[in-house]
Amino acid sequence: MAMITFKINRYNPDDERRGHCVQEYKLDVQKGQTVLDCLNEIKWHQDGTLTFRRSCRSGICGSCAMTINGVNNLACEVQALALKSNVVTVEPLRGYTVIKDLVVSLDPLVDGLLAVKPYLIAKTPPPTDHERLQSPEEREKIDGLYECILCGACTSSCPSFWADKKYLGPHAFLKAYRFVADSRDEGQQEHMEALDDKHGLWRCHTIFNCVEACPKDLNPTKAISELKKELVKQKMG
């Protein structure tokens, strides 16, 4: 058990006078408590106005992505004591518009996603009485891609996105490659149409922030480099 001071970024759109500020809360933290547990404790017993998204609290829904001690993560997956610090800073994900406290607008996340036509494009009709066949080796090619939970941590960490809010973002590229690499997909060009653009793939400068930020240990940068190769291949005909 330890007393931790949480320094939390606050912003209430209905209180323009206060604007953006940092508020401190102290909490006795028990072993096993995650940062999300701590935020809930504060909200439930100290200050009901503290606002953040949360749902599954088991790392699969992606609601509680935020910046904890400077690092993007899911609050529900970070053990508070493991931070080994009696001061913990909690900020909303960077790069997105803040709606209130730790809640950010997901609009850029959805826009980037929609641009890559994020669904299986199959032109050959599937068999009527059974599944399409896909070998375990073919299926393995989308491991590390299909697990994305759309939490937004990667795109929030990306300097290209900070500079250009229309930049599609690593999450969108990861999703595009999840379909391009799927042996059943026949719409490679459709998925990649939006990528060869000033807000697209070429604005990735392989800084690898997205890889570091992903709470699910996925590798958007690798997906991006594979897509770049595909795009070059398409262009060279």
Partner: protein
């Protein structure tokens, strides 16, 4: 009744012009049931989906182990075997006509998922891979466990949810993400739409519809230890009760045997399906005593009772209230390929490396078998029996068809949500082909919702929502959990009345309309208090033990008096009951052993 001409719908009292929306179909809830219905209906009609969380955050995504279908991809299997297992698993309370439909359509639904692009794990031949799960057996229970659960590693719910979201995008489904449903508009047994709260911006919205579908999910959060998300608060059930409609079989709540100790987070039954053992404090595989044949792969109600008995009798690990699930013998390669998420969860939440050491687990509230009574076409039943509410549909965990009866088998929930979501979508299409006009809206349709929100936003009493909620969860766990007795249930009933009284004196801190989670949590608690009484009162009435409902004073199943479904209404704080017979077509009830 003052009604509004459907052509001038912008005149709902107290609601701004831009906050009135009109869609052929309004779906509430973006889990598998809601999205599968949306996919189906959007092939032909204009569909909107309201969800209190962003669609891919819905709790279906947390399902791990698989979706059942007798595909025979890995070994011999038959629809009839799946039929029998589900009936027996339900402790004979499941309606056999509905179960028959489910097992017949299961292969179609699973293959459609594959056609939509879901990345299932594969067999060496390239077919959808299948694994064992509790209660799913060969040869009408005479053989061993059968490979029937179609899976994508241990992320099956995640891949199905994301796949449906993707198809919805493709089909142009209109999403209203982070909209919280406040009320259902039903008059004269005709459903006319839904009142919603825009969480992001604040504000009441009216959704005027020809058809409304509820896929609003379960309510594990009524209990202290639960596998469910913080948002699984059963909101839809409360809205249905308030519209004067009944709920069915609410006393049947499933406790999943393996939740991470203290957290309740799900450890998939797939862990046992892949060969995991349950061990008590003495290191014994205690399931030998309770289910000598099926062992760890007995159904959930039985395994949860066994674990609870071990704990109560002092055979937990070091006498503590948990036991172990041990998968170390599966080896690193298999664990990382088949159960990667379990490895991640055990490590992140308990700091246990399940490749090297067993995982501490305890039973966790997981699934509600009961819910909104619907017929096989997912039409909601106004009297719980035959009379339908026109234009109102429900599917998935919030609904009661009833395919799960008194106990659901693992992997039948993803199946039910998807399959009956699909059926609901098809019924809605049939209904809309014959329905040109929008139903009229009462001019004061939003009045109740507006009053409720205003009341809560200005609530300045001395009680905290969090305290009332914590007490509700703790007491429900202790007094209405795995084992029940009339003394505790009666005490719980009184407790609920006192919690309701306390709720009238709550205060909330956050008064701002925008992204007010304080308000949402108060609404959710109010919903849970609404229907929790039905769980307790139903459990008190049902003097027998069947499936997940286990009464220590009536330890046997009583087919003579209780082979029937409970229907319960709540009007002006008073509960009334009715009952209806179980549909039995093929399998006569017999003793249930594993």
């Amino acid at each position: 009744m003052a009604t509004i001409d459907p052509e001038t719908i912008h005149d709902v009292e107290g609601v701004g012009v831009h906050n009135v929306h009109r869609h052929d179909v309004v779906v509430v809830g973006a889990g598998l049931a809601g999205l599968r219905a949306a996919v189906e209906a959007s092939e032909e009609f204009d569909v909107a989906v309201l969800s209190k969380v962003f669609p891919t955050r819905s709790h279906s995504g947390a399902a791990q182990g698989g979706i059942a279908a007798a595909l025979s991809n890995e070994e011999e299997d038959h629809l009839e075997w799946h039929f029998f297992d589900t009936v027996k698993g339900s402790d004979y309370l499941g309606d056999q006509d509905a179960i028959e439909i489910m097992v017949r359509e299961a292969p179609i639904v699973v293959r459609e998922y594959e056609h939509y692009g879901a990345p299932f794990s594969r067999t060496p031949e390239g077919r959808i891979a299948q694994r064992k799960f509790g209660g799913h057996t060969k040869d009408f229970g005479r053989g061993g466990p059968v490979l029937r659960a179609c899976y994508a590693a241990d992320r099956t719910g995640h891949v199905l949810l994301h796949t449906l979201y993707e198809v919805c995008i493709k089909n142009g489904v209109r999403f209203y993400p982070e909209f919280f449903a406040l009320a259902l508009i039903v008059e004269d047994d005709v459903c006319r739409g839904v009142i919603g709260w825009d969480v992001i911006n604040g504000g009441i919205h009216v959704f005027h519809a020809k058809a409304v579908l509820f896929g609003t999910g379960g309510y594990g959060r009524v209990f202290k230890i639960t596998s469910n998300a913080l948002s699984s608060t059963g909101d839809g059930l409360s809205l249905v009760l308030r519209a004067g409609l009944p709920l069915e079989d609410m006393e049947f709540v499933q406790f999943h045997p393996t939740g991470l100790y203290k957290q309740g987070i799900l450890v998939t039954e797939g862990a046992r399906g892949e060969g995991g053992y349950l061990l008590n404090g003495k290191g014994e595989r205690f399931m030998e005593k309770y289910a000598p044949e099926k062992m760890e792969l007995a159904p959930r109600d039985l395994v949860s009772r066994s674990i609870q008995t071990e704990i109560t009798e002092g055979r937990g690990i070091n006498g503590e209230p948990y036991v172990h699930i041990d998968i170390t013998h599966l080896g690193e390669e298999k664990i990382m390929r088949q159960l990667p998420q379990i490895h991640e969860l055990a490590w992140k939440f308990l700091h246990v490396d399940c490749i090297k050491e067993p995982i501490p687990i305890q039973p966790t509230a997981h699934y509600s078998m009961g819910g909104i009574p619907v017929n096989k076409n997912c039409e909601v039943l106004a009297d719980g029996k035959e009379k339908i509410v026109e234009g109102f549909y429900a599917a998935g965990e919030c609904a009661c068809v009833s395919v799960h009866g008194a106990n659901r088998l693992g992997t039948n929930s993803l199946l039910e949500a998807s399959l009956f979501g699909r059926r609901a979508g098809k019924s809605i299409r049939r209904f809309l082909r014959e329905t040109r006009e929008f139903p009229s809206l009462p001019a004061d349709a939003a009045k109740g919702a507006i009053d409720q929100v205003n009341r809560l936003l200005s609530a300045d009493g001395t009680e905290r929502v969090a305290d009332i909620k914590a007490e509700l969860q703790e007491r429900m766990m202790a007094d209405c959990g795995i084992f029940r007795n009339p003394e505790k249930l009666s005490a719980m009933f009184d407790e609920l009345r006192s919690l309701e009284a306390r709720f009238k004196n709550i205060g909330i801190d956050d008064r701002s309309p925008r992204f007010n989670v304080d308000l949402i949590e108060a609404l959710e608690l109010c919903h849970m208090l609404d229907f929790a009484e039905l769980i307790v009162a139903g459990a008190l009435k049902r003097e027998e033990s069947r499936g997940a409902h286990s009464r220590t004073d009536f330890p046997k199943r009583d087919d003579e008096n209780w082979l029937k479904h409970t229907l319960a209404w709540r009007k002006d704080g008073k509960i009334t009951f009715d009952y209806k017979p179980v549909v039995i077509t093929r399998f006569q009830p017999k003793e249930r052993t594993y």
